[in-house]
Symmetry: D2
Subunit: 345 residues, 4 copies
């Protein structure tokens, strides 16, 4: 059994880790921390976990965390970078669901997150945990930076196009939409049901923190610089991201082989599903499941490739991918604990 | 492995059976029928099942069904009663999720369902499958009538009060509310998102088909006649039932022992959770899970017991309870395949 | 033109007053106050008002308010009772949408609102502004206590039954459900979309502040003491209240005349609509409109009268009723500014 | 008073016309037709209209319609083109909310709508009723083709850019999202609440009927051919469209003058609101109102202009714009009956 600790368990990614791990056959959650709620049973805050956990939230304690095999950070940015070095020294492995170790350029990081990075050494060593790109490095990584939700949906959809050099890398557009759980569980007026129910809007259209993460990943796939425009939107629902991606095909004749290319690229991937050409993936088809589904489209006589890509932002976009990374790191079957179909309807 | 067939698999209870059974370790689904969609792969209609089933819907065929160990009926009323006798003769066991075998008084049945019952013999023999009441009979039953969604939530909440004779059985009120999936998956204008989104209403307030089923169950618990008023309402969401129950305590002094009574009554029940006195169960705490959660309330100086009871109408109110019944019938661990926590948020 | 001031304009009842008054032909809004947002243009906080108001929120100033013909309080409880006496002295008329002047028994008020009442004199003089009950007193009132949202829906539905003494006044049950806007616009975690979307629950089931207000009103209608159980619930939508009311008819033969009784009772009421017997009023049928719609039901051989009553909690349950009261107080046509049909779908 | 007839009144645009016209001071609705519901009072189908209309749906009768001053068609495509010629002969003016007269190229029309056009003469004469482009022609038009919902939101947002030739007209992308009411009020399984609630998806991504209409309008603005990619999406809500538009600025230095350009372009337009640079228009800010709100965005060092444009698909995208057109045609104040602010929250 892998002994797991969770730092910052009161948010939506924390409860989602607990939900999935509750039925993972090789994991035992030994501690879950929260400064603000220390002492409260997790099942009192999250009644879906009644009968599944006897744990209570505890103050973060490096000795306790240091005795774990793996620690997940489900914290706001700025927390993991301060605690990780000590855990690394203790030989603990870490999957950080926050943004602290995702960017390699720490000036860019400092600029978007408004503080200096405090662990440049580990920022360099961290493996950006998108298994579909760097599975082998994840196996042996001590520190995995779990990708953001939007970056997961956007990167997976663009990957085959950029890796093959089929599209103009300077003209990428990602129009993405997310349910409200992506904003976390803080008492902000702007996230009240009364404010966002029955309404839709763009946000962060002049620049969002996931933009540099997306750009970094796409540059890697393209093997060079890219130009990408990324606009997120808020959907009046709880879970799910849909990203509609637009790229300009260099040679329109390539349209004929795109579907096969995508299918081959993800053929061995347990958590990426390429649907038939012209399909419309629904976010509900991945609700609660560690899946990315995508489909390709073309409009008549156009050289624009359209990719629609969906994930559950809390699963393949956060906790599920973190557990997928854990499975890889510990040599377990990659799909362990992640087999259940999505909840539909 | 139990070889399972499903009759009428295109509706929401059909897909829910498939979703849960996809990860049930002792079940193999060998056929799923649909007259209207014969030939269509189930994963094409329900993309959450892509990668989980290779099955296609087929025409119902008694020979094929007759080779199953267990057949679930997820059909509209009137179908199972015509097919069940032949399956019984073939020695197949059946869990009928429709209303065909729930009522013992067939005049009442005929009155509410608008047709004569065609299998009175099996209506008499059928076991009404509420495990919390008749677990032992379910073990050996050949035909189990799976309870309705509202009746499950309402009966479980009233049970301890009526069994102990603590309340006036003539003055029971059940004000129940359900998400839209309870109405099934037919193309009715009244169930369009544009019609029921952002709105709330009572329906069937002058009489609903679940009223006689509720009355029958409550009479059994009370050991005599009851008077119950039942008003269902439609919530603008997909899954979940909340029933607020009102009963008049004969002796207000009994209030002090109600919480203990409820806890004892359900202490050994894996799927009924009595929350602390004064809690407010949320439907999301059981979303996708085979759970009933309930809590008791009293208003100052009142002798009215208030019980709030929640289930997922498609799980403990339909497919989950059916699989619970199957587990009991086949001597499996009752919770097998039903362990995953609810999807929250 | 009536010169109107609004105290506490940043909440949902504040913006709703502005929305309706924007097209009221006899009103000019001269000031709207908010301590926290002083200086911010109202149209910046509420973009639906862009082009309709040049006003900005201002610090509350008794001199400015004292120059108004009418002041609406759209504040949390505890504010109006401190400011009203001075405004009364200045000869200003007030409609208080908060709870400060609704209860006549100030011990009960203190008990439920957790503070001593600071204006007992005006609490006594205030008219409880349910026009369908005390229209004539409203005409000349200087201070009107605008009814709560639940109390409006519940009282209107029970009124004819209690006024005529047709039901047992000791056995009244009001099972009420509200959209999320009823909880106001504060950054509480419990009201996030991620918390209440796609879920349903009771709340305040052991006692809610609207219970004493409801009881006071029903006692008035019954001409004596009543026993009422009131359980509110939270619907995953923004606007609307539905109350399902249960009362025991003393003489079942009276069922035959109930529909006529209700129709006569509200025949001259512009904002109460008695639908045909057996109808199911939808909250969307009153969305944005100053209407209460209701309908009667009976279940077979039962002596329980069922009334389903719907309002928009922000309109007939708050701002609309306040403007209706204003129209009455100033001798205007009672429906002025309140004529537009509900927004459906 | 303008005597108005409505053909095809049972759908969402029909009831929306009735809702707005109920308080229009210069209009009297004299008939509303529906073949399927002839005889049913409109207030029975749409209870929000109780007390506002005594009308019942009637069979369409050219004599009755011919006695109207103006007839609105709120029908599926293919109906208006058959009835319009006779009404034109009778001297009646028509605003057609369907797609019949929107496209000038009837081969394109036939291709997308699957039938030959039956009134080429009037298709040529019809004025495409986007007042912000062709107000003067609308004044005298006998037949106005009311624009589609998506085309309204998309065209208004691109107009200033194309009219001034500031962007590459061959690289326009419109990623648009709509609430469910845009699909009308037919009993389709795919539009059930159980199917589209809590989910999001693209649809028609390989080609949608509004694409040729958008292209036609944008070509007009650009004074030449354009290349536009248009992908619609379905939002789990009822009303509202948001379109995020992407265009490549020919000269990045032009960014500095875009805001002023947009403000000037729409300065005199009562129903287009250009918000401050960097704002995020919400669909709720136009719910129920005849408004288009838009805002501009730029991401760092990018030459992509981003425009976010919102409308209520049933108002500025259908019934409201139709009434705006009527006001223009009959020399009324353009805003008459359309002054009320949006319903927020």
């Amino acid at each position: 059994m892998i002994k797991v600790g969770i730092v910052g368990g009161t948010g939506y990614t924390g409860v989602e880790l607990l939900r999935i791990l509750a039925v993972h056959p090789e994991v035992s959650v030994s501690c879950i921390t929260s400064r603000s709620e220390a002492g409260m049973p997790v099942a009192e805050m999250y009644p879906n976990l009644r009968g599944h956990y006897d744990l209570a939230f505890s103050e973060p304690d490096v000795n306790v965390l240091g005795a774990c095999d793996l620690v997940f950070f489900a914290t706001p940015h700025g927390v993991a970078m301060r605690m990780v070095p000590e855990l690394m020294s203790a030989g603990v492995r870490v999957v950080d669901l926050s943004a602290d170790f995702r960017l390699k350029d720490l000036d860019v990081w400092a600029n978007w997150y408004g503080m200096a990075h405090e662990s440049p050494e580990w920022a360099e060593k961290a493996v950006y945990g998108l298994p579909e790109v760097v599975r082998d490095e994840i196996r042996t990584a001590q520190l995995v930076a779990n990708p953001g939700c939007y970056p997961t949906a956007v990167q997976l959809g663009f990957l085959p196009l950029l890796e093959q050099g089929l599209v103009d890398p300077k003209r990428l557009i990602a129009d993405a939409k997310s349910g409200a759980s992506g904003a976390g569980r803080q008492g902000k007026i702007g996230m009240l049901h009364g404010e966002i129910g029955e309404s839709f809007k763009a946000y962060g259209a002049s620049g969002h923190r996931h933009l540099p993460e997306i750009r970094q990943g796409l540059c890697g796939a393209a093997g060079g610089d890219v130009g990408v425009t990324f606009v997120p939107h808020l959907i009046p629902m709880i879970r799910g991201i849909e990203a509609t991606l637009y790229a300009e095909l260099r040679n329109p004749a390539d349209f004929d082989r795109l579907q096969a290319l995508f299918e081959q690229r993800f053929d061995d991937e347990p958590f990426v599903d390429v649907m038939p050409f012209g399909s419309h993936p629904e976010t509900r088809s991945v609700r609660g499941a560690n899946q990315c589904r995508m489909a390709l489209h073309r409009q008549e006589q156009s050289n624009i490739v359209i990719v629609s890509s969906v994930i559950d932002n809390l699963v393949k976009g956060a906790a599920g991918q973190a557990i997928q990374n854990m499975n890889i790191m510990f040599g377990l079957k990659e799909t362990m604990g992640l087999e259940a179909p999505a909840l539909l309807p």
